[in-house]
């Protein structure tokens, strides 16, 4: 655990859910959570959050702004299961029922620095027209059992989704000790080499020690 030979690397995420573009909906709020693998653990910061409700402004009729900050630090021993952020957006429908307006997920950028991500959002579709109608009527749209579903690939083939809008996120990534553990995520001047192939395991570092 000395500074010379770290056993974990740290990934610090500062950022915000800047806003969204849902052309048809208004008064939306969003929730976020992180999905990460077994070898990851948040060391500080909030893992989940729920934002304020925002309405569309008069001068930017398409833009919903949350500016909801994200701040979390992960520690990990293994890039497998790199954290993903899952954003789900909710808002009232025409009858005032709170329904889901979109799910989306993206991996946290792996390279340090500032990043902006625009995630397309989608919602699951009803299984039948009748269902669709009743769900519209009753305000109980189909939802994922768990928003984290959108961060996993398994079992998605049984769902049908329709796209809804976009959410923009910005990240400021700081990593610590990734290089020391053999994970070189920064781009070198020769961009055509595969950055990931450099080290999945402990790599040269371990061997050299």
């Amino acid at each position: 655990m000395t500074a010379n030979s770290p056993s974990v690397f740290l990934l610090m995420i500062n950022g915000q859910i800047e806003g969204a573009n849902f052309p048809e909906y208004d008064d939306l709020y969003c929730k976020y959570c992180f999905v990460y693998g077994h070898d990851w653990a948040p060391t500080s910061g909030l893992e989940e959050g729920i934002s304020q409700i925002t309405s569309k402004g008069r001068d930017s009729p398409h833009r919903l702004v949350w500016n909801f900050p994200l701040e979390i630090t992960f520690k990990s021993t293994n890039p497998l299961g790199w954290p993903q952020i899952v954003v789900s957006v909710y808002g009232p429908d025409t009858f005032g029922n709170d329904v889901v307006r979109g799910y989306g997920a993206t991996h946290i950028p792996i390279t340090p620095g500032q990043h902006t991500r625009t995630i397309p959002m989608f919602v699951p579709e009803s299984t039948s027209r009748l269902q669709k109608f009743t769900s519209w009527l009753l305000g109980r749209r189909p939802e994922f059992t768990d928003p984290k579903v959108v961060a996993q690939g398994e079992g998605r083939e049984v769902t049908r989704v329709s796209s809804q809008g976009f959410v923009t996120l910005s990240f400021n990534i700081v990593t610590k000790d990734t290089k020391r553990l053999g994970y070189d995520t920064t781009a070198t001047e020769t961009t055509h080499t595969h950055p990931v192939a450099a080290g999945f395991g402990p790599g040269n570092q371990t061997l050299s020690m």
């Binding site: 030979s5 077994h38 699951p124 189909p142 984290k148 398994e154 049984v158």
Partner: protein, 1694 residues
Amino acid sequence: MASSSDLREKLRKKRRALQHSLQVKDDVDADTQALVPTDRSQSKETAQRDMEELTAGEEEPGDTLRRNLKAQRLRRRRKLEEASVDDKSMVEPFHETVGEVTAVQQISQSDEKPVEPCVVSSPAQSQRGDLPPRPQAKPVPGSSHSESSTMRQRMKDKLKAARSKAESLLQQEASQDGPASRLQSLKDRHTLTRFDRETDADLRGGGDDHPSSLNVKVKFREAVRRVRVDSKSEMGLPTAEEAYNFFTFDFDPEPDEETRKGQKRRTRPEGENEEGEDGGDDDEEKEEEDKEEVTEVDREHQGEDEERDDNAPLMRDEEEELFLIDQSADDFLVFKRAEYMGYQRRLQSENELLFTPSFLTVPASSKVPENMKPRYLEEEGLYVGERPPMSLTNQNILENRILKQEQGRKWFGDDGRIMALPDPIKESSTRPPLFHIEDDLDPALQTVYRKALVSKHASQYISVGGETNGDYQLDVDVSGLIFSHHPLFSQEHVLGSRLVQLYDQHLSRQHRNLTEHLTTKLNGLRNTIGNMLEVHGGQRLTPVMQQRISEYKQEVRNTRRLRDLEQEKDRTLLKGIVKIWKEIKALRDFQRFTNTPYKLYLRREEVERASDVREYEAEIQAEVDELLDEMEEDYQRKVTEYRRQQEEWKVWRRKQRAKNKKKKKTQSQLDDNEDDEDNDDDDRTDGEAEPGPPKPKPPEEPDMEGVEKQVSEKASRIRRKPGEPILVPELTASGPITPNEQCPRGEFARREDVAKRSIFIKVLYNDKEVSRTDNRSLNSDFRVHFGQIFNLKIVNWPESIKLQVFEVLGLSTTLLADVFVPVPESSILTGSAPSEELVFSSNLRVMFDHEAVGSDVPFSFEVDGSNRQTLLTSGKLSCSVSWAVGEDDVPLAPPTTQPKPMYSGLKQLDAIASIGASGLNDMKKLGEWATESRLDPNDPNNADIMQLLKVASSGEVTAPDYFRLEQLQEEFNFVSEEDLEQSRRFRLLRLRNQEVAEFRNYKFVPAMEREVTDKVFEEYERRLKEGEIVDTKGHLDAHRALVAKHLHKIRESIINRFLIAKHHFIMSDLVQEEQVPTIGILGLNLFKLAEPKRPLKPQRKERKKVTAQNLSDGDIRLLLNIIRAYDIPVRKPSVNKPAVTSKSTRSFTETLTAGQSQRATQGSDWLLNQVQVRPFVEVSFQRSVLQTTTADGPNPCWNEDLQLPFSAPNGDYSTANLQSMKDEIFINIFDEVQYELGGDGEDRGKEVHTRLEKHWLGSVKIPFSTIYFQSRIDGTFKVDTPPVLLGYSKERSLASDGGYDAVRSLTEGAFITLFITIEPQLVPGETIREKFESQESEGLLLASEVFERDAAVHFPDRPCLTTVININGKTVFITRYLRPLNPPQELLDAFPNSPQEATDLIARYVSLIPSLPDSVSFAGVCDLWSTCDQFLTLLAGDEEEHAVLLCNYFLSMGKKAWLIIGTAIPEGPTTYVLTYEQNRYLIWNPSSGQYYGQYDTFCPLQTVGCLVSADNVWLNTQAYTSPLRIRFDVTKAKLWKPFFSRAFPNPGLSSVQPEELVYRHTDQAAAAELQDRIEKILKEKIMEWRPRNPTRWNRYCTSTLRHFLPKLELSRGRDVADEHRLELQSLLGDYRISGFPLHLPFSEVRPIVEAVYSTGVHNVEASNVEFALAVHVHAYPNNVLSVWVYLASLIRMR
């Protein structure tokens, strides 16, 4: 014409329709025939017209309007007709007629209304028909509108007059004439107007058919015709009103318009025939004639048509019209039947008209041209793309439709299919996804798509292998180009360039000087031969020599031929040069200017004549000699050949002659001849035309003189004549060019044009332009010099270097040609690279109006334009491409070791393999695969593979000689396989990925190898080892160990199955969706609105279920509500009481009534001596223990909530993990006993020391999985109490609680009421949706599915089971499990006289088989049913196996037995056994061996879902499910729904059970050994559990207990307490003893230890405590062991 006539026809039809409608309206007498109404309507029309013209007041206003309309319409039509009228010259006759008619008209006006029947129909009709044009007299030239109308009238009148005249004539002829008829005709006159043409035909027809009235008719016709013609001609321009009406009038729709059209079309030929007769008629009339032939249907509408029918109607008409006298204006109304065309007829007529393409496939023969077979291009190996999909029906329809058309066949290809382009639709979308939300921009402005480009060069960088860093440079030197033809060439240029070409050729030939070379060679050969002959002169040559000489000669011959050829070429070249030069000169003379600087000098080289001649002749001579030699040889060879043939021929000849004697004479002559020939070879014989082999011809003798002549001729042709000077052409470009001003205009324009043009060259590298040369203007000599060198620094692999020649004229740039330059070898370096001349050409067609010849344009040099030739732009580009040399003389060429992508076979191989044809690294295999998969070699998609195959077959690419299963794997391997194996970290990662149970949720695999300790794997490795080595020690029994191993294996395989199945998701796993509410739910919701907000008796509401996956430790708690208990054993006073009754012989009835008897006997003085019991409940779960407060009395009421924390193993809260949890909740009831400890003497009275002891009274075990699946457990459970509790008695309170006790005490034992649930509620896992394979018939499976589904729909709370899964994972129908099976004989023999005892014993035997809930072990919820023999072999099973075995035993004992599929507490869904005995139903719990009456309140069975017998399955369809409230009579169809019914009989399913069970005798010695071992282990354990206190064993007590245990076993734990107590009497005096026997089925030691531990006997802290422990193992057949453990703690009182 056609269109106009069509239009006209349409109008006519409209009109007719209108007329019909009028007729219907107006008709007065409906019964008159069709003819009459029409007449009437016609008359109306007349009136109309009158109205229009005269505004006659007598008509009704309504009529007026109608008529107006009609008239207008008529006029309109006429206009149209007018357009088609040819002869307008007939106007004049009309005028005449008008004059005549005037008078008559007045008459008719006055008295026309009293209508008379028409006298003669046809003439009248004809007039009528002719009339219509008349009313529209306007078109008469010069006449105004009014004039025209008067004119029309006049004409009408005239016609009337004429008609009346004719009629009167006819009347005289005809029989029934009268004034009426005349009047009618007059009246009709007007109506006729519209039907002019028809009448004509009628006239014709009638005239032909009735010669009798011919003359009359003819006359009349003539008149009519005149009128008609007039009428036609009078039709003029329409008035504005008419025109307006024409376009705006809303015609009545005509229903059967189409039909009529069709009919017309059909009848046209007839009309045409008639036309022939009536040549004078114009087209319109033809039209009308056609109409005449309309079928009867039409005639019904159109009376006039009918009239026109041949003779028969004539008469009729007359007759009918007789009745038309005295018609009033109203009478003109005509009633008509509604028009109806029979369906069949309509169909028929529609069929004529409509074409319905057939669905049937068109035979191929009709799709291809006659006498041709469909030609399938695929079969011929041509590539045929895939057609877009189209349904066969549609295709057939289309084909049929196309074929119907003219030239339909042109749409079909050679293969008889409709021509179609390949399907253009790409399978994958190529459009990039939308990603722009940089809004506030107009969306239209925002998105700019660029066409997706495959970045071909992405992977073609010359990878940076090291320090050179890809510093490669390619030098492209473009020195210049020369046009060999250019559109701007003048003729002289063309010649000049040709001259230059020839000269170049000459130079190059001269350079090579082949002629000289060959001549020398020839001379050398000749000398050799000469030498050889000389050396061996005269001597006989050896065969070797001869051979060599002949070889030499052959060589000489060849060389000579070659030399001659070359010489000839030289000569022709020279001649050509001279000729073209002459042409140029001629041209220059002709055009009087010079364009080209070429000048040809012929340099003469004088030779010495004499020697030259000598040489020449010597040469000729030598050649001649040689030739002669050769000829001689040839001749000799031929002669031999001839001789041989001659012989053959003669033989044949002789045979012939023998046959043919008549011709003998001639033959003999011939023979003589032949004989002569034989003698003289040189003599020639004539070839006689005889059958048989041809008579061979003797070879010709070589012509020696000819040879010499030939040689000299040839020599003169191809060689310079002797003494002639050698001409050496020299071409110079030094000639003067005529300056521009001296040139004629054409040439000047050309030169101007040339001067305007310039040329530049683009350099393209890998199809990208990298640079271009300067513009260089085109010189008059059409040479462009660039002399530029481009240095290309490259990073991509060079694939192509291309130079594009562009010509610039003004601003426009034309690409002349592409010149591809080969990529240089890396050895070609700048400086050493030769300049290459690359020929290019362009097929651009260019033409000029000046002197230039243009390109691709034929031109001629001759004046007369003959000998035309066409030249294309072409030229030579000289350039060189080479690799640059660096400063330090290092070539800047990329290393050749790197395979170039374009030619790399290896790379492509892997690419192919990666697209799907894996493992095809072997080229042979690839080829096989290509043939197998029928790759179309012509499909452009496969071009790569085909190319590769070709290359491979040519052997240029060697396939790798190794085989890789995953080709790309190697690239992903970051460490070697060995490292991967050795590294603990990687191992850990891999195991976790494989979801090995120990590592499934392992968190934080360390990043460093050194941090992974071997400890992590210890458990896993131990487990692995256990799988192999049977740990006999843990199991105490070899057989058990084997069984355990087997069980473990099954479990593993099943778990693996489920692990796979777990990854199959269904919609509801991922998406929560509201169910569509049914009416029922809606209704309930409505009711809910009316519900009281706080009901008096609230019901438990369903809590929201939580999916397990988003839980973590501490989220889940286990809630227990311990309410109360009954019949807790009470402490016995130490005073002993004698036993009351012995109940050694009991029957079922006795048992059931035992309570009463006991109560009666025992309860007498119990109250007085009662010692308090202070029970409390201790709940332990996952090693956390909670307890309630202590209550008092045997029926305590706690009503306490306990919350136990719950944590899933490994922190994995997934459903599967929770399901597989084996933890149990132990609910133990203890008695809290307080002992006073005597203090020290002096303190006595002041201090009281008490010791609290807890004495175990009983326990309830509930597995967690049950709670998990049930989500809550609510009920009263029987407390598992030991049969004997020392110091306690199970006396029941007799009098205390009155009525309730009476019921309660029916069964023995203590009971506890509990409510257990999990907070929050977890969603239990779904059953595995894996469809298991089955050997059952499909029908049965389907029926069972339907049955189960029905049950689930109608009775959702009733478990219904028809098919189960056997241990091999196959679906088996449930009844197959039931079959009478023999129980162990010794059990039956035990109580030969008492079947009840035997039954009891058997139930006990079954219950002794250890229970292993498979839903726990198999994590997958679905029950696995093993057969009885498997069950007995495994000695472990679920309730089902117990139930099946018990049921089978009962069946074999002759009992009526069923399986009950139902739910019970605490098991949940389970299986019980139902028997019918002594008119009562008994419910057996197979796992405990207990039985209950149907009406037993404490029966754990709560729900009866269905009953299963060996034959059938019955579903409970009664209103209730509780066994208390249902009837078990399965014969009642109302109460039980059978699976197999009359509709679906039992197919006679065979049983899966064995015929007979074979039991092994249990080794009693082994049992004894086991007994000792268990005892030893338990003693050790107890000592271990008491680490701080010494554990003393009371030997005496132990032995007493040991003696007692077998008795317990014999009595199966019943009614021995009293005797036992007596036995212990002696001890009890000294000791306070508390203890109990535990009874367990034996499976392993661990559960026994657990059970002992849970009693807490060891917890006694008293210093003087002693223990007693006895173990008894009783062996039943087949290794079923019953284990008794007696535990007691003794405390010495004094």
